[in-house]
Symmetry: C3
Subunit: 307 residues, 3 copies
């Protein structure tokens, strides 16, 4: 039963609950007109304490395409934060006005606190470097739709595996399905943290290996998940400049990849995927973004209990 | 006849006109679905020259729940003010696009000026330390719904009574009903101004007294109206620090209060109501916020003439 | 066939295509209720990389009055630009979520680039000092509705003719209709550039002359198009102060104007039209703003292919 619940951590829902959301998303994609009025009379509040146009647009268009409405703010300055109000009070007030809320916050745990005081479902739309569960849902839906399964996949994850929250969440999520193999592609400085290896991969008996170059492992992959090397995660600029170009995907590297491999990326990209790759049929990152809207439609409909 | 009129000052409407709005609000609360399409095709413009998320959300969700739509800005930077346009020209343009406007402005009188040049109803959503009439409507509706009357009430007003515009407006509003008694609870530095006593309370023969401590008078009250001690109203920080904690409501002070006393607060609060009070059945400030949305629905429907 | 196309330059559409839009706008003005649901289920994205409340409101209310919905941002800070994303990627993502986009950008050519990568129609809502095609459509619709023709008109253009993009676009647009005469009224420092005279006016055999004072030519005019002397176009403040008051329209200057001359202005004005003129029946600039909403309704409906 998803009605009335919040989504804070990508692991909040069981595999079966996720399946319920993905099935609804599939049907929305197939028959969008049937869902045009599903959330009529409902209001989403987008509480973005740091800007993220893409994520905000995805939530807002999802709600609008269900026939619902939106209120929101996209920057802390335009909120009441400056008056010293707590997250707890803010969400209690928002609960008076809206039917569901999506919160983005620079501080880890803020959406969790909100959900504790809220009387409406709260969706974590990203809290610092911590969690971004609807991105994980987007990633899973995209793999499920293109590969027709979430098990028996070899998934390469490339780039900043140390700080990248989407990668950590995806590793956790894929560890719940059978027989997946994960290949971690990163420089030494940005390797996946030990606790992910021990507490997630080892504990769930997930096969994995580490690699330093895309070209060494790309021929094995069903899915190549690229991530941005975020400037803000580095302690100094020299490290950033030295490493940022190391993990760039281009057509040349793609030559040895499987014909039906799919390339995913949470976006925005800077230069880690060359523009020439955009026209490759294996490039799925824009379709992935569109899936993000559909999975949010399904998610919100379920949490509001309108479908 | 409220159709086509603006609301700038809380005293703009007669007691009878307010009653018309409150009755509609009661019916909206009882039968919200019947009003879901009342304002279909109508557009509210929220012109917020200073941010106030709560007030803006309240207006916007009110319009959306009537089936109307919203455009707006929530900060002066995103407006045309920087190009040197006058309020008069701005509202004339907005009158071309929208059907009703809610204006928040740091300068006293700005919404009044706007209403003079507007061809659509303008609602003052707060002008500096001056007026905030829909807050007063919210306060009155909440008392009317819980106490079943707006007369024969003993109302305590606590906190910053010197600068607090909501308190001044509420005193004026309650002075129009019979047999109310007002108890003013504040430190000497933040006492209600003399003109309020002379021109409002004395002139209307309203019984009132002043007190320095909540606990000395709380047993007499039907309504306790708490207000924030706003940092921005003080001339220096030491005064603020010395006084801000003086008027904090907690469960201990509530012990001698009547069982059916209601606690109101215009929100946001900082620390003037302890969190432990939130679970007290007399705590009405969040329900009050929700009433704010409903009274704005009724108000806008009346001013637009759709109900 | 306008469906699926973008509007970047005011000259993108043929005279016949413009006529199609204007006829639809006329019908929308006559029968607004018939168009209340025309764009149901469609979403406009307003991508404003610099603030322009008026233009944004015009687009947004246009979409809402067609029964569509809106998402958007009104400042670059709240967008993903800070993460280093290109315009190309941004519009590709927006294409996943929305059905049509209106882009305002401080850099010339940005909306053009966006339209090259977009899978949805892109409307240029102003790119630096370059183009603002929906303003031109607004100007043309207003002349067409008041004068019942777009040919055989004598049009005075007054103010900053050197940098004013709306003036340049209007000159180009009017040069496509027969037998118009253009009178260019400006100080020497702000005269229309030579290429406009040679490549537009001369090449199309448009009769024109230059003047230095409104009062010398106002009696000849069917249309007086006033423009703002924008502070930001000047290299130094003294020049601005010296020139800004030179071209102010007041009731005195209007005495010798034709009875049915119309005064237009793209707005916002600073002081180039005295407030006393607002009550003159020849003042059409606020009606012009309202026409701007209607012409955008017609334009978007055509580009989305819903009408």
């Amino acid at each position: 039963m998803l009605k009335g619940r919040s989504l804070i951590d990508p692991m909040d829902f069981t595999v079966e609950e996720l399946e319920e959301i993905f099935k609804l998303a599939d049907d929305i994609i197939a028959n969008p007109k049937e869902y045009m009025h599903a959330a009529e009379g409902k209001i989403l509040a987008t509480l973005f304490y740091e800007p993220s146009t893409r994520t905000r647009f995805s939530f807002e268009t999802a709600m609008l395409r269900l026939g619902g409405q939106v209120v929101g703010f996209s920057e802390p300055n335009s909120s009441s934060v400056s008056k010293g109000e707590t997250i707890a009070d803010t969400i209690r007030i928002v609960s008076c006005y809206a039917d569901i809320a999506a919160m983005r916050h620079p501080k880890e745990g803020a959406p969790k606190v909100a959900s504790m005081y809220s009387t409406i479902p709260v969706i974590n739309a990203g809290d610092g470097g911590h969690q971004h569960p609807t991105q994980t849902l987007t990633d899973l839906l995209t793999m499920r739709r293109t590969k027709k399964r979430l098990s028996n996949l070899t998934i390469g994850m490339c780039g900043d595996l140390k700080f990248g929250r989407t990668v950590h969440s995806l590793i956790k999520a894929m560890s719940r399905y059978d027989n997946n193999k994960i290949i971690l592609i990163s420089p030494d400085e940005l390797k996946v943290p030990e606790y992910i290896k021990k507490e997630i991969l080892d504990k769930n008996n997930v096969e994995y290996k580490e690699a330093k170059r895309i070209e060494d492992v790309i021929d094995e992959l069903d899915v190549l998940y690229m991530t941005r090397v975020q400037k803000e995660r580095f302690f100094n600029e020299e490290d950033y400049i030295r490493l940022k170009d190391s993990y760039i995907l281009n057509e040349n590297k793609l030559k040895s990849a499987k014909d039906d491999m799919i390339i995913l990326h949470p976006l925005p990209r800077v230069n880690e995927i060359s523009y020439e790759v955009d026209n490759d049929k294996r490039a799925y990152y824009f379709k992935q973004a569109k899936n993000g809207m559909y999975v949010r439609m399904a998610l919100m409909a379920k949490l509001m209990g309108v479908l």
